[in-house]
């Protein structure tokens, strides 16, 4: 933890329960039906203008804790981060007072061009310095801790020297940021690159995990017989990702968990059913922890 972080707002209003990603399609349904879900997460970029979306979120915000998930800050850009974008993020934070604010371990902007995707970084000391500098800059500007999410990746650079899990842990350690552990992304990247997903989880520092993401992905069968998994957030969380989630909870304890769905968005009920599934796992881990503490007391007595 950096000494600088002492004055930041760290108290999270996001409970260690299950939430869902809120998209425009469901604004009205959430207001009308007030579904039982612990919290909601929105894309920061969708609330940077004015008008209707902001009024909806103002109204929804009264009943639900909100988390902001950004896709555009491009923390890994060698040429620096876009300060006008950072200022837009600050204004969205000011208006909605989110419990959590997250971005990605990736880059999207070079030569004043936004490349429309979360692009992979080479895992090098240079990239680590760049990311840490930008996380420091962002946290100082926003006066709060942010979370950094591990990406899904489809390629690796030959000159990378640091495993992604070590890179992420080091960024958290150096900047005091938290980690948004996307279990689906770990699964996707592990399958694509032949990594051990369990070892990835084991390498992350449990106290730094501030949020978990769950989503579905596509399995692309390539003509050369190879399989490439693509993180498209367009389906239910598949069984192996649920299994990895259970493993993550066993390591990290109960952590705020989000169901993400961004393409072919289903009716609200489908998202809520997925969140219920996550909530069942969260409850189980809580009970087990209470049980474990009870046993420890018994031994001590």
């Amino acid at each position: 933890m950096t000494p600088q972080s002492a004055g930041w707002k760290t108290r999270s209003s996001i409970p260690a329960e299950a939430g869902i990603g809120l998209r425009f399609q469901h604004h009205q349904a959430v207001l009308d039906t007030r579904p039982e879900v612990a919290w909601l997460e929105v894309h920061t970029e969708n609330y940077m203008g004015g008008g209707t979306p902001l009024r909806y979120l103002d109204a929804i915000r009264r009943d639900y804790p909100i988390s902001l998930h950004g896709i555009g800050l491009s923390l890994g850009s060698a040429e620096g981060i876009d300060l006008s974008h950072l200022e837009r993020i600050r204004r969205v934070i000011e208006r909605f007072e989110p419990g959590l604010v997250s971005e990605h371990l990736s880059w999207s902007i070079v030569a004043n061009t936004y490349l429309g995707d979360l692009l992979p970084l080479p895992m090098t000391d240079e990239a680590m310095d760049v990311v840490c500098r930008h996380v420091d800059q962002t946290q100082a500007f926003l006066q709060r801790r942010i979370l950094i999410e591990n990406p899904s990746t489809y390629l690796r650079f030959a000159h990378s020297t640091i495993p992604e899990w070590e890179f992420l842990a080091a960024v958290a350690q150096r900047t005091g940021c938290s980690i948004l552990c996307d279990v689906n992304n770990i699964f996707v990247s592990a399958c694509n690159h032949g990594w051990d997903a369990s070892a990835y989880l084991a390498a992350l520092p449990a106290p730094a995990i501030g949020e978990i993401h769950l989503a579905g992905h596509a399995v692309r069968q390539l003509d050369n017989g190879k399989v490439l998994r693509i993180d498209d957030h367009a389906s239910r969380v598949p069984a192996p990702v649920w299994a990895l989630y259970v493993e993550a909870l066993a390591r990290f304890g109960p952590v705020s968990t989000l169901i993400e769905w961004d393409t072919d968005i289903p009716p609200l009920e489908v998202l809520l059913a997925e969140a219920t599934q996550a909530a069942i796992h969260l409850e189980r881990i809580e009970k087990r922890q209470v049980h474990a503490v009870g046993e420890a007391h018994a031994v001590a007595a």
């Binding site: 970029e45 940077m48 203008g49 004015g50 008008g51 209707t52 902001l54 896709i71 555009g72 800050l73 491009s74 890994g76 850009s77 060698a78 040429e79 876009d82 006008s84 974008h85 837009r88 880059w107 999207s108 902007i109 070079v110 030569a111 004043n112 061009t113 936004y114 490349l115 429309g116 995707d117 692009l119 970084l121 080479p122 090098t124 240079e126 990239a127 760049v130 489809y154 390629l155 690796r156 650079f157 030959a158 000159h159 690159h193 032949g194 390539l222 050369n224 190879k226 490439l228 693509i230």
Partner: protein, 269 residues
Amino acid sequence: MPSLRELQHAVRLSLVEREDSVAASYIIDDGLAPERRLSVYRNTFASNLANALRLSYPAVRRLVGDEFFEGAATIFMHERPPVSAYLDEYGAEFAEFLVHFPSAASLVYLADVARLEWAVNRALHAPDAEPLDVTRLAALEQSDHDRVSFVPHPSVSLLSADCPIDAIWRAVLAQDEMALAAIDLAAGPVWLLVQRLATGVEVARVDEGPWRFAAELFAGRPLGTTLSSAGNLDAPSLLAEHIAAGRFIAFSLDDAAAHVAAPAQENRS
């Protein structure tokens, strides 16, 4: 070994200009060619930007059909990729692009419909701003009135076209074939005012004279100049209507520096 900056420039070349060779040389094959790995990212780049353009230009898309739209969008995004991740602002130059897009030449009104859609899009996403407090205006000395310049609400814009693009736009979005067939392209020019209201974005037709008067006001010309060039128009009523409709958010006094500073100093003493 490339620097991070070199690597990122190479990836931009690959995604935007389809020049893979440099980026590919940095990537591990591992059973799948680097070029194919890069194409996964290029597909996301293309589909995200095409989606942003589809959201902003639904009527253009219906007018030309999916296939043509995707084709035009693809060329556009590679020629003019976005400069920031705030994609609600992406695509302002699409109308201008369509003017010079050879295969769009047969639909003479296409670029003008695109301009209207961009005005609507801007109105939808413009920042919130409180309308002008009229009591501040009323508190001015009579002698200062000529020096007032208004700041328009960021959602407000004016545009004109040689044919009834507003009718085309409405009919296309409503998929109203009868209305579309009834449109007379030779009916003469239209003068439009676009604004976000609480109920949604309004596209209103106004007469040419009031439109030109509004254009002067929205451009921030001082009231004295605007009124003197208003001719036979009932300028005070038009002005009152703009104010009542919340189309201004502030005003300044031309040559205002000395004027504004004086009372502030009095307050301090």
